[in-house]
């Protein structure tokens, strides 16, 4: 088990490294002029040269990648206009536009995104599984058909429309804003409520369908019949034997899904004007702020591989038949 995790961590790190190198090549090798962006409209050739030099843009690509990784590992120095600034490890460079370390920007953005996703995911997991399980139990009845129908309708409406509707009509909700949880938990929750509802509502439709299908399958299994033949209550049959089996695939989907949610909150953040990772990346994209983009890529890739690893480990806990190796 320990060996397995170690092996997976090593492979996860290499995945992130490969992603970084590829992104680096794509971004920095593209035909554009980062130094020009930083230099701004009142640029002089001397300043441009200085900037180019300070960013090591005049050095070979391999050298640049090396410096980038060195920054992550041990930090690096930037010299511009005769002034040297030390950037502590893990250094992802400075934002071209804002002139602050990328790590600081990300450190502010990540908790916002994390808050949005954790809240939203909790809502959709609970509601989706609950409604799906009930629908499976009363399969074929009006209630079941209503649940399936509603989930189909919600599932087929584009996400941003749901978000817009909530933003425009749910005006009774507290104003959308981000406050740190540690500062004021109530304000934290209040400010994120609209985003949570939006994320929760749209995704619970999907989880209703997953859970319903999975539950129907579990209730049709031989072991459910065995459980019934023992003389235990129907509730215990459904919620202990059935749900335990039905939730394993749902939880697995959920784990990977959360990872994608984390890197795909752009819509939610934009509409509800929350300063999360998505907003940060979009801004950086519009402004050729490459170091920030690179930072976003690293965070995204790391989240994905880590969540995948967690899901695999979780799976061995949920299903005793699965052994890592």
């Amino acid at each position: 088990m320990l060996f397995y995790i170690l092996r997976r961590v090593i492979s996860a790190i290499s995945v992130v490294i490969v992603t970084v190198v590829c992104s680096f090549l794509l971004f920095f090798a593209a035909p554009h002029d980062p130094a020009g962006v930083i230099c701004g409209p009142k640029c002089t050739p001397e300043r441009l040269k200085d900037i180019t030099n300070s960013l090591n843009l005049d050095q070979p690509m391999v050298e640049q990648i090396g410096l980038y990784f060195k920054g992550i590992a041990v930090g690096r120095d930037y010299t511009a206009g005769g002034v040297t600034r030390h950037c502590d490890a893990p250094c992802l460079g400075y934002s071209y536009i804002l002139g602050v370390p990328v790590t600081d920007l990300l450190a502010r953005a990540v908790p916002v995104t994390l808050s949005i996703v954790i809240g939203g995911a909790t809502i959709y997991l609970i509601f989706g599984v609950l409604i799906g399980t009930i629908a499976a139990r009363v399969r074929g009845t009006t209630l079941d058909k209503a649940a399936v129908g509603t989930s189909l309708v919600i599932g087929s409406v584009p996400y941003f429309i749901v978000a817009l509707v909530i933003a425009l009509y749910a005006t009774f909700l507290p104003r959308s804003q981000y406050t740190s949880f540690f500062e004021n938990p109530i304000q934290w929750a209040g400010g994120l409520l609209a985003a949570w509802l939006c994320l929760g509502l749209t995704n619970s439709a999907q989880y209703t369908r997953y859970s319903r299908a999975s539950m129907i399958e579990a209730l049709g299994q031989d072991f459910t019949r065995t459980a019934r033949s023992k003389g235990i209550s129907e509730r215990r049959v459904v919620y202990r034997h059935g749900l335990r089996a039905a939730m394993t695939p749902v939880i697995t989907i959920f784990g990977v899904d959360v990872a994608y949610q984390l890197v795909n909150t752009i819509f939610t953040e934009r509409i509800f004007q929350l300063p999360g990772l998505g907003t940060r990346i979009i801004n950086a994209f519009n402004q050729y702020d490459l170091p920030v983009l690179m930072g976003g890529v690293i965070v995204g890739a790391t989240v994905l591989v880590v969540m995948n690893l967690l899901v695999d480990i979780l799976y061995t806990v949920l299903d005793p038949r699965v052994r890592l190796g």
Partner: protein, 362 residues
């Protein structure tokens, strides 16, 4: 699995129990009908099944897929979904009427008075709970005891069904057991509450033949110890010969022949039973050609009129008039022997068997 002792071969002599007349029936099924309404019409899975079974006796219900053998046995435990099943008739177990029993009464009845073992122990055990947890759950559903006491009972039961090292095995998951061991665990689970009726639905079909032999011995031994009545559902006549006292042959939702095993297998009276015997390639005797029953079993949506077997029966022309096609025969004694019944219009079936069928058997 190295902690086993290799035993010398033994000769096991089977002594069929004499039929004790007047023994009180523990299980009594009367005119049982089970139907499933579907979009294509009503599936008539069981159509008027009646039989009785006293304690300490084993009844084998034999039939092919769609004969209603499993459906009728599921009904004994009240396992059919009420919403999608229509059941009429009577099933009395130890004096309790099971048809129409309330959900609450069913809960205290299932597992305690009657228990069931299923065909595939792999899929019939929950993969995510330990063997011990599954057995103790059964026990605690009917006994108000501590977890510790229930677990001790589970270990005891696993030992009784011949699982080596039960105190270690009790905490393992089903996938850590072999097929035969899993079926032993299933049996332990079914017997944990000392039920007086055990229903075994093809319990050895998924197992290898040497393991099947072990499980058959085990069920016979346990029946002796527990004194229960056993309903053994199978399609394998060889297994029936080994384990059963009585046999009930089912075809298309009906019982077509019923009686003591040595009579029904030794000199059956129904053409369907004859067809089954002639279809089985034996491991002994002179190998000869097989005489399969022509055609396929009937659709339960559109049962043939009259005798359900008549479209496949090679003796239907021997019966006068159009009787086989128009009139469903009763399940009654057809010969001087009152201890056995069959559902066939054919006159003097015992003579037909002696002269025409027996010579063709291997």
């Amino acid at each position: 699995m190295t902690d086993q002792t290799v035993r010398a071969p033994q000769t096991v002599t089977r002594t069929p129990r004499a039929r004790a007349e007047g023994e009180e029936a523990y299980l009594e099924v009367t005119d049982l009908h089970v139907q499933f309404p579907t979009a294509d019409g009503k599936v008539q899975a069981v159509q008027g099944l009646s039989y009785a079974l006293p304690l300490r006796r084993t009844l084998a219900i034999v039939g092919e897929s769609g004969s209603g053998k499993s459906v009728s046995s599921m009904a004994i435990l009240g396992l059919h979904d009420r919403k999608s099943t229509w059941i009429s008739g009577s099933i009395k177990v130890g004096g309790k009427e099971v048809v129409g029993m309330s959900e609450k009464d069913l809960m205290s009845y299932r597992g305690a008075d009657a228990a069931m073992i299923f065909q595939d122990p792999q899929s019939s055990l929950h993969p995510f709970f330990t063997i011990g947890a599954q057995i103790t759950e059964s026990y605690r559903a009917h006994h108000n005891v501590s977890k510790r006491a229930a677990k001790a009972r589970a270990v005891d039961m696993l030992g009784r069904v011949g699982i080596p090292n039960p105190s270690r095995r009790v905490d393992q998951y089903p996938h850590e057991f072999s097929g035969g061991m899993r079926q032993r665990a299933m049996i332990a689970m079914a017997l944990v509450n000392d039920p007086k009726l055990l229903i075994a639905d093809e319990p050895t079909t998924a197992l290898d033949v040497t393991v099947q032999a072990q499980i058959l011995d085990l069920i016979a031994d346990l029946q002796r110890d527990f004194g229960s009545a056993v309903v053994f559902i199978t399609h394998d006549l060889g297994v029936v010969a080994e384990i059963a006292d009585d046999i009930l042959v089912m075809y298309g939702g009906n019982a077509v022949e019923h009686g003591p095993v040595e009579k029904i297998l030794g000199s059956p009276l129904h053409p369907y039973s004859w067809g089954l015997l002639e279809s089985i390639p034996a491991v002994s005797g002179t190998p000869g050609p097989l005489h399969p029953i022509p055609g396929s079993p009937p659709s339960l949506l559109a049962m043939p009129s009259g005798c359900a077997f008549h479209p496949r029966c090679e003796f239907r022309d021997r019966v006068g008039g159009d009787l086989c096609r128009t009139l469903k025969p009763e399940l009654i004694p057809r010969t001087a022997d009152q201890g056995r019944t069959s559902r066939c219009h054919l006159k003097e079936p015992d003579k037909v068997f002696e002269t025409e069928v027996l010579p063709r058997l291997p």
